[in-house]
């Protein structure tokens, strides 16, 4: 998107809502912003109906702040709580049938490559754990097998949040949830490992307790997806409502998970690493 498109025509500026003007004046479209800059610029997500203390909302906020080029970023979603925040975000956001996200993203990315051969249009899938690991697993893996140049971000709250707290494939073993009345019978689906096996060039696992890492990881994932191949970020974003802890405990839960079973992990394929070294050096990135 060229800046011309969002720049208000002087004569009509006063007709535009304040929010829009703020986005133009202080948003991340004209001047590059990152997670580090939060609190000092107008974020592209606005007032969403997520529960108080929602880890997923926080996760999305951090991811959105980390987008390297929001003005050319397209978000593909799917039903799930993430819908609420993403529908309130000043980016093209699409959400159709549950689990189809990586198939939709494949078609979209290819069409954008046809229509804008000289531009990077970053197609980013951002959806829940259920959407990726359960109903959408086939489409997720096949987009990776096919080496689609898209970034897939799992907002892993270890439960079906939006439909009221049912077991997800990413729920922890033994956890009692709706539709798992006697506790979940199998461990978290190893999507991180599957991603490595299935052709992802960059795979990272991180929690909302590490906001700056999120910024870095998202940037890497998107840049690598532009040039090398599919990338995957698994973000732990606990759900106070359905995992039934107090809303002010969300970060504590994330921090404990980070120590306990959700450590930061990063996998970079050789070609991705080479590419990354090049761009991060050029940008002076990667030191943070």
């Amino acid at each position: 998107m060229s800046n011309r498109i969002i720049t208000p025509v002087k004569e009509f500026e006063d007709l535009l809502p304040q929010e829009y003007k703020d986005l133009v004046a202080d948003g991340p479209f004209f001047a590059e912003k990152g997670v580090d800059d939060l609190g000092t610029f107008k974020e592209i997500m606005e007032q969403h109906p997520h529960c108080a203390g929602c880890g997923e909302a926080l996760g999305m906020r951090l991811v959105l702040a980390g987008l390297p080029t929001p003005q050319d970023t397209l978000i593909i979603g799917t039903p799930g709580c993430s819908f609420f925040g993403l529908a309130q975000t000043a980016l093209n956001y699409s959400n159709t049938a549950f689990g189809n996200q990586n198939a939709v993203a494949s078609g979209l990315k290819r069409m954008l490559q046809i229509r804008y051969p000289d531009k990077h249009k970053d197609v980013v899938v951002m959806v829940g754990d259920g959407g990726i690991a359960d109903i959408g697993l086939d489409y997720t893996l096949h987009s990776w097998f096919r080496k689609e140049k898209i970034t897939t971000i799992m907002l892993d709250n270890e439960v079906y949040g939006n439909t009221g707290g049912q077991e997800s494939g990413m729920s922890k073993e033994g956890k009692v949830l709706n539709m798992a009345p006697t506790g979940k019978k199998f461990p978290k689906i190893p999507v991180f490992e599957l991603a490595k096996t299935s052709g992802c060039c960059y795979v990272a696992k991180v929690t909302i307790a590490s906001p700056k890492k999120i910024g870095k990881v998202i940037r890497r994932a998107i840049l690598i997806a532009r040039e090398i191949g599919p990338t995957y970020v698994q973000l732990f974003t606990p759900c106070p409502t359905n995992l039934k802890f107090a809303p002010d405990q969300t970060l504590k839960v994330a921090k404990e998970a980070e120590k306990d079973y959700y450590p930061f992990e990063e996998f970079i394929s050789d070609d991705a690493a080479a590419y990354l070294a090049k761009v991060e050096q050029a940008k002076g990135d990667g030191k943070s």
């Binding site: 498109i5 159709t96 198939a103 078609g107 954008l112 229509r115």
Partner: protein
């Protein structure tokens, strides 16, 4: 691409360009249409009897007529990816059959809901158990309220034309709805017959995503958040009303498409011998078989007319009412167990005891003209 193609209007390609005779299958007719449709992208998944068409479209890709093409992991993925590609602002084509149609059923209303001018071929076949890959158009009954426009081709010629006409109609800014072009699988896909084709060196002008009621999904329009609250999950009369009016607009767009269907397809129905007291009303291959039956019946001195229903959605209620004004017997032969066309026709006509829902053929059988002839004679006898 071994030939240079010139972009032309649908009117030129459909009405003005000279045509040459080809002796080809329905599957080849699909590829000939796609070759001239200036498709950006096509995504395939095999299923009999659709596969040959999508093989040929793969060849078109290899030859440079199409810019991207791949085999997806299943039909739901195909329809989702085609949806994504269309969101991206280009022209797309795909096709499927029977179980594939049902596997992807959820996506068709999504296309309509997204107002996407996708054209999809449906090479209808048996579904369910016992397994059957043979002709049957039962899958069409599953899509009657999907929001898609639905055209039913009689033969390879129709199939060729309706695909191109489908784009012309679907892409009108006041329509912008997906079009399903249906044929009876095998009968049309696998029969080699005479098809008149315009030259290879012309094609439709490219799709213009700017002439759309919904902007392309490419971050090239100001990305304001649209609503204070997302439409979903709200007990919010504004959201209900928005949803309802959006769907009403889909129905309205289908209504508006009628004028273009009339223009490009020469009517939603086609009537032969409208004054006959006995009419056969049919769609798809049943039309072809009816033509044979009518030839025999006329030869025996029994005057029988024909209503060919070309557009199933929008359904030509008024047109059929008018065409059947004088009819005393209306025979509706069909290739499915449900009898959905007869149901539609009955629902459209006052005094529908005139409508006879037979012969109804399924399980893969052909429909010998003799069956239709007998049905007509039987109806005459009963009435007398």
């Amino acid at each position: 691409m071994n030939i240079e193609q010139k972009n032309v209007s649908p009117e030129h390609i459909l009405f003005e360009a000279p045509r040459d005779k080809a002796f080809i299958t329905g599957s080849e007719a699909v590829a000939e249409a796609v070759k001239r449709a200036n498709i950006d992208m096509s995504i395939a998944y095999p299923i009999t009897p659709q596969s040959e068409s999508m093989h040929l479209i793969g060849d078109l890709y290899a030859q440079g007529y199409i810019k991207d093409y791949y085999r997806a992991e299943n039909e739901f993925a195909v329809m989702a990816a085609v949806h994504g590609a269309s969101l991206g602002g280009g022209r797309v084509f795909t096709a499927t059959s029977g179980p594939g149609t049902l596997r992807a059923a959820e996506m068709f209303p999504v296309w309509a809901g997204s107002r996407q001018p996708i054209v999809c071929g449906f090479m209808c076949r048996g579904i369910s158990l016992p397994p059957s890959i043979q002709p049957e158009n039962i899958e069409m009954t599953f899509l009657l309220d999907s929001g898609m426009l639905m055209f039913h081709a009689e033969n390879a010629q129709d199939f060729f034309d309706m695909i191109l006409k489908g784009y012309a109609i679907a892409e009108k800014p006041d329509v912008h709805l997906p079009v399903g072009v249906f044929v009876d699988g095998f009968f049309t896909t696998h029969t080699r017959e005479i098809v008149m084709l315009p030259p290879e060196d012309i094609r439709l002008s490219p799709y213009d995503p700017k002439c759309s009621p919904v902007p392309a999904f490419d971050m090239e329009t100001p990305p304001m958040r649209v609503v204070r609250d997302p439409l979903l999950n709200k007990s919010n009369f504004i959201s209900y009303a928005a949803n309802a009016s959006w769907h009403q607009e889909i129905l309205a767009a289908a209504e508006r498409s009628k004028k273009y269907i009339n223009h490009y397809m020469n009517g939603l129905i086609e009537v032969d011998n409208p004054k006959a007291k006995i009419l056969i009303a049919a769609s798809g291959t049943a039309v072809a078989q009816s033509r044979e039956a009518i030839r025999d019946l006329q030869a025996e001195g029994i005057d029988v007319g024909l209503i060919k229903v070309k557009s199933i959605r929008p359904f030509p209620e008024k047109e059929i009412q008018a065409a059947t004004e004088n009819a005393e017997i209306i025979i509706v032969p069909e290739f499915n167990a449900g009898g959905w066309l007869a149901r539609e026709i009955k629902a459209s006509l006052d005094h529908n005891s005139r409508v006879i829902s037979a012969p109804r053929i399924f399980g893969g059988m052909p429909m010998p003209k003799e069956l239709i002839v007998n049905e007509v004679k039987h109806a005459i006898k009963k009435r007398a």
